[in-house]
Subunit: 282 residues, 4 copies
């Protein structure tokens, strides 16, 4: 038996679940996990994630798609099927801070993150050794105001066909709208604040100056608007008046890497569905 | 349109979701929310909660049951259907501490807990005024070692036919196995520790003596074995060496009432399924 | 033996702690608890809170002040002494939502908040019964755009000499700069978001629209700048895509009342020192 | 200016703080941070931690000790002085799981943990490469029921004079009472449960079987009684019925390494004082 995950969204109406479960049954499949959400039972939009086992001797990957196409058409649905035996390719971008990168690599090498990592890109050379330790190709693409366009061109060339999504593991460069458009796949960023508080640069300094009693970290999809994309996961940590900017940074590392890794884990398991500027996380 | 919730459990096998969604569709219903869990995809036990709208002009409550019986039989399933227009009747037992009771009554009177409260029973007279404020019948059933059996007899007489479940809102008496058996419906207790730590009496004193850095509260179903029933919800609160037993008690009140109320809320929404000594909370 | 709390701030320099502990010793006192904080060991500002026992037969309240004045002068310090046998008078302002008010009154009546409550003021009549239950004078001061100035005049007349600080327990009116200036004592507000996120009106609607995964509550001192005063305490609660505005509001109530009560508790125990736009909370 | 930390405990009585602050002043020192705790203001035991700057041109390390000895004698106090320019030597013991080790090494190499690490000892060879990466001597001391005594003998030989404290970073061997006695310095362990729940082996399996809704991790000092030593730090993570033992283990790693690192950080900063079976953590 093989395992696959169906992600589907369509206008909500009677019979949607029936149509989908009928299809799984007809394919010889067994539903293992099912989650659904509707923005509004009357006239809303319907989202569903189904994990199902199927017998690859009876029906193959193409057959699953072919057989589902008419169901999707009847439901006016967008859908995707992901197969457990095809790993997603996660490209990583990083700058100098290594804690998020190291957490991802630890989870990857211990088998907890079921991905391939085709490359690590950085605007600094510092992480080359870490990449080498894990036998992952490392690309040093330095950037400056003058060379940003050129650097993004190189980045696209490396990433476009070679990855299914990107993770900014404390990558301290703002991606241009052009790059986001051309890459045209999901990009996950970790922002070191409790968004929407402290957008932009130096959030720990901002937090220190505001005198907050809790700091946070936010994993979100990257959009053209800085730090404004759909939020995937958020975690927090208590602080006190005794904390200075430096200790905020140190405490923040725990939640930054945990938040990012949890978001990546949910992404890999296809538990995240983008819904406008929000996410559904099953 | 009316709303109902189907709770079902059966041996897991292909086609279970299909059979259930087929039935909802045949009844003219629309699935609003669906959650499922299987202990093991191959040979495990399957649990499901479906909230669906139905047209009471087309099919009535009895009709829903009648039409589902053969489905349940075919699936070898246990099931229950709850109707949104029939409120559960929640009997409350309390001793002297009022914080959990007050929280339940606040949520009840503000419309956040969709229940009826047919009675409040206490082994002390202290809460009579609070009950009167909310126009809820109050029964003072004092107890002692000698009169425990008799008190439980009175308790059963009041509670048995007059409530759908009981909540022990800091009721400091241990219910006998006989009472639990005869009442034969769910009883939810709030224990003022992070179970299984600090079972039994004076958990804050135990926590103080052990020097823990976090205290907790646990809402669980009552079974004959003290503080050993299926856990529904747990919350915690940080403490320090500065805390003495009294401040632990005061801090604990926040999480006790929050934990209990969340458990009751989940219960009323039929989001809890008992599974041996565990709970599934959708 | 009586107990008192000294709060002091002055430029940091060698010998400050010595001078203060010398004074306590000379008064026949014993230091029970001591906390200190300096913004910078070299050239910073020093803050201290000392709780000490003293023998009122040996030295009275006036004597403590008289004897400390020269110490304070030598240290160029601002200071205040609070006596455990003099309760602070806490005026409460509330609108229609009662959960914060009820929590304060529960903690007050159970002896956990060592204050007097001289009055409850509201721009709505709804809480009159609650106030009556606790035998606290209730003033209904309705307000509209036209009558705001007049209402604040009445408010000042009631509050100015009759309270040591004010608590806005979900009071949905913005206090004018004039009122804040004239009242000239501390005012604590509970804001139903994780400040500085979601300043202003309808923070739960804002949180819902932004799609955050965590909501928060913030207790802060009121300043002329809306929701911008020094933060005292913050607490959070996890939410999901399933939450609508209403369930955010319901979940938020737990942390709103807990956050506010913890802030009030710290205030009453003189554990909060304002430091510009921040707070030191010992 | 140099920095030092005084840790002191003595019977509580009037004048203790005065005597200590007088000494700091006489040494030409300036108190940077001060924390104190008394088990009971009348007749209790007093604990204090003072961080102070001193001028090493005026007084040296020996001079600080010599000058404090009579003060300590007068107060009947136990005390220790730690100097910021002398790093503690932290020996690490580990088995196969690397997440706690990696976190400690990351914090160490980034300068966040101000320690020396003289050795890593393991009963398995797996971590040799990691140790080599950080140029830390690695000792593989395999153990079995027959060789345990001999292995501990080797362990003592390596650790006794070569470390100031030991950290068990998921070391899956129980240290004998003999070893603990002979080592005679602090040993910090991370236990992968919320103690006192789930003492002993396989706590995640125990947690899974009990059906808890929160898992925890506990850093504590090692004593002869298994998992019963003074608790230093505890952290928790929410789980659900969906979690199996494996996902509990994966989720637990975040809090295990965070809990252990926080405990080590507090230890290195001399913020922990053992008080019988409890800890004071300033």
């Amino acid at each position: 038996m093989n395992s696959a995950t169906l992600i589907i969204q369509c206008p909500d109406k009677r019979g949607v679940v029936l149509a989908i479960s009928q299809w799984v049954f007809n394919c010889g499949g067994n539903i293992i996990q099912s989650d659904q959400y509707t923005t509004d039972p009357s006239g809303g939009h319907f989202f569903m994630r189904i994990v199902f086992d199927y017998d690859s001797n009876t029906i193959d990957k193409a057959g699953l798609h072919t057989s589902f196409d008419p169901v999707a058409q009847q439901l006016a649905a967008d859908y995707a099927i992901f197969f457990a035996d095809i790993k997603l390719r996660m490209g990583i971008l990083v700058s100098k801070q290594t804690h998020c990168l190291l957490e991802l690599l630890y989870r990857y090498s211990s088998g907890e993150l079921n991905v391939d990592i085709p490359f690590i890109i950085s605007n600094h050379p510092d992480c080359a050794d870490i990449a080498a330790n894990y036998s992952i190709p490392f690309h040093h693409l330095p950037t400056s105001t003058d060379t940003k366009a050129q650097q993004e061109q190189q980045l696209l060339q490396i990433a476009k066909d070679n990855s299914d999504f990107l993770v900014l593991a404390r990558y301290m460069q703002i991606l241009s709208g052009g790059l986001i458009t051309h890459y045209d796949k999901d990009i996950i960023n970790i922002h070191h604040s409790f968004l929407p508080a402290f957008v932009g640069a130096a959030p720990y300094m901002q937090a220190y100056q505001r005198g907050v009693k809790i700091i946070g970290a936010t994993a979100h999809f990257v959009t053209e608007q800085l730090d404004d994309g759909p939020i995937i996961e958020q975690l927090i940590e208590r602080v006190t008046h005794r904390d200075h900017v430096n200790s905020l940074r140190q405490k923040g590392k725990y939640i930054e890497k945990q938040t990012l890794t949890k978001a990546v884990e949910a992404y890999i398991e296809h538990r995240i569905i983008r819904n406008g500027n929000k996410t559904i996380v099953f």
